[in-house]
């Protein structure tokens, strides 16, 4: 099989959600439409390298998917619901849908995103379905991204589609009253997808799709669809700024390098400029939401040419703002670090004492990790070593464990840090 060239591959992935939206509008069956569109995408991947890309690729895909849908409906006609029988009468012709060019395709991508990130789904389901239906990744690609067999991922996607069906979610934008909450769910899923991309490779996982890049791509698409939404811009900025540090955050042996020791010459300045411009525009629209605040914190770091020049008082103020919005213990930990940078490590440590009683942090490695860091700042080597080791015992991340053990070892050695 001649492989699809990268440009055609990108085209297919961009069209996938638009085609899916159009087919769902016509046939009102998300699950069957998703299967039909997958088949159409597969047909395109087979035929376009030989026959060339059609003049109207979206119409081509919609036509092929529609054929699959009518085949499917004929096979299932005894069990179709009333709306679908009506659609069947109207759609019995195999001519391309007349409105293919005028389809409100952009709206459909947005509707799809809302559907795939519906709160009824578990995060893992929402992530898998979003990457498939909106991201246009194949099941195999998503399976590789999450290191599970393809059959397992196929079932996850299937079950996600079934959950959507049984939740009765209509194929339309959420009602105004629900909108903010549903959008927050979408932003959260994109954030999780981005997070999944933070993997050490040891050169052994080169075939995995880059989930961080995919999350940014989807966040950009969302921003294009909702250009006035400041939180969407905030999330996109946060992802851009975080990703801008990608080249600097692991060393040659793939060891983790913390923010204060990264080589800032390796930060992606273009991504930083883009992010800051987006954020500035978003913040001008009024009261900032949590993603904008997190983006603003990232921007303060990004604007410091050297770690020593970081405007920590501003970061501290931003974390306090964020904490007032949501009682998140991870934010509280970060605020403790910022407080230490502004008022000294003892102040930061005092804030941690309150967190000792927070059940959400019980058994979590970050509390001892932050405590160790502050104790190190304070000069209490013995206690810092002990807490680095506790954190290393608790963390689930191998690179993080190596980092924490190494920090303890560095403190244990008699020679000072270079």
């Amino acid at each position: 099989m001649t492989p699809l060239d990268p440009a055609a591959g990108h085209l297919l992935r961009d069209l996938a959600p638009q085609v899916l939206g159009a087919v769902i509008r016509r046939y009102r069956d998300f699950s069957a439409a998703e299967d039909a569109v997958q088949e159409a995408l597969f047909a395109a991947a087979l035929q376009w390298p030989q026959q060339g890309i059609p003049e109207n690729p979206r119409a081509w895909l919609i036509q092929v998917a529609s054929r699959r849908m009518t085949d499917h409906i004929r096979a299932e006609s005894a069990r179709r619901r009333r709306e679908t029988e009506v659609a069947l009468d109207a759609a019995a012709q195999l001519a391309p849908p007349p409105d293919a060019a005028a389809d409100p395709a952009e709206d459909d991508t947005l509707v799809l995103l809302f559907m795939c990130c519906h709160p009824a789904l578990t995060p893992a389901s929402a992530i898998a379905l979003t990457l498939r239906a909106v991201g246009g990744l194949t099941t195999a690609e998503i399976a590789r991204a999450f290191l599970v067999p393809e059959a397992t991922m196929a079932q996850r996607i299937s079950r996600a589609k079934a959950a959507i069906k049984s939740s009765g979610v209509p194929f339309s934008l959420p009602a105004a009253g629900e909108r903010a909450q549903r959008l927050a769910a979408v932003l959260h899923v994109l954030y999780l997808v981005f997070n999944e991309g933070y993997v050490a490779t040891a050169g052994t996982q080169v075939l995995r799709p880059d989930l961080s890049t995919e999350a940014i791509r989807l966040a950009r698409a969302l921003h294009r669809l909702l250009p006035q939404d400041a939180e969407v811009a905030g999330l996109l900025t946060l992802l851009l700024l975080t990703d801008s540090r990608r080249a600097a955050r692991t060393g040659p042996g793939e060891e983790l390098i913390p923010l204060d020791r990264q080589d800032r010459a390796l930060w992606d300045r273009a991504a930083i400029s883009e992010g800051i411009a987006l954020l500035t525009a978003a913040l001008s629209r009024g009261a900032a939401g949590p993603y904008q605040i997190q983006a603003a914190i990232a921007a303060v770091h990004a604007e410091a040419a050297r770690a020593e020049e970081t405007d920590w008082p501003q970061i501290l103020a931003l974390y306090e703002l964020l904490l007032r919005m949501s009682d998140n213990p991870m934010v509280a930990l970060n605020r403790a670090i910022a407080a230490a940078m502004v008022h000294g490590p003892a102040a930061g440590l005092a804030l941690l004492d309150a967190l000792d009683r927070d059940p959400r942090l019980a058994g979590h490695h970050r509390l001892p990790a932050v405590r160790a860091h502050l104790l190190e700042m304070l000069g209490d080597r013995v206690a810092a070593i002990r807490h680095y080791e506790s954190a290393a015992d608790l963390t689930l991340s191998l690179p993080e464990r190596n980092y924490l053990i190494t920090r303890a070892a560095r403190l244990r050695s008699p020679t000072p840090n270079p």
Binding site: S125, T152, L396, P399
Partner: protein
């Protein structure tokens, strides 16, 4: 969250298993196959493998020149891994529930073997949550 579920036994236990009736051995095997299919259906299956009997286990160290030095003698009571499952689940309780299913596999006469299953969380290669 990924977990490794370990099914262990001794050489004596394996010998005892081989003395089960053919029907009981097949029933146990079928039970595990059914569970594997269910785990794929639930989107939780990552990997499983049965291991060759512990009588074929070796330990290996490096000799003076780095070449392998093998040893195949173990105490009678040594617990060997018989098979493992790797599952990707939403919470630790689910990993334990799957382990209980493994434990309840049928033995002679269909009575659940009730063997102990070790549940271990697998570490992730994820670097860190957004540093």
């Amino acid at each position: 969250m990924r977990y490794m579920l370990l099914m262990t036994g001794t050489c004596a236990g394996v010998d005892h298993y081989r003395a089960w009736s053919e029907k009981d051995i097949q029933a146990h095997f079928a039970y595990l196959q059914k569970l594997n299919r269910e785990l794929t259906g639930s989107g939780e299956f990552v990997a499983t493998a049965p291991l060759a009997p512990p009588q074929q286990a070796l330990t290996v160290r490096a000799g003076k020149d780095g070449a392998p030095v093998t040893d195949g003698v173990f105490p009678e009571s040594k617990e060997f891994l018989l098979g493992y499952w790797i599952v990707d689940v939403d919470c630790p309780e689910r990993a334990c529930a799957i382990a209980a299913r493994l434990s309840a596999g049928p033995g002679p006469g269909g009575v659940p073997t009730n063997m102990p299953i070790e549940v271990r969380q697998v570490m992730t290669a994820r670097t860190a949550d957004l540093t």
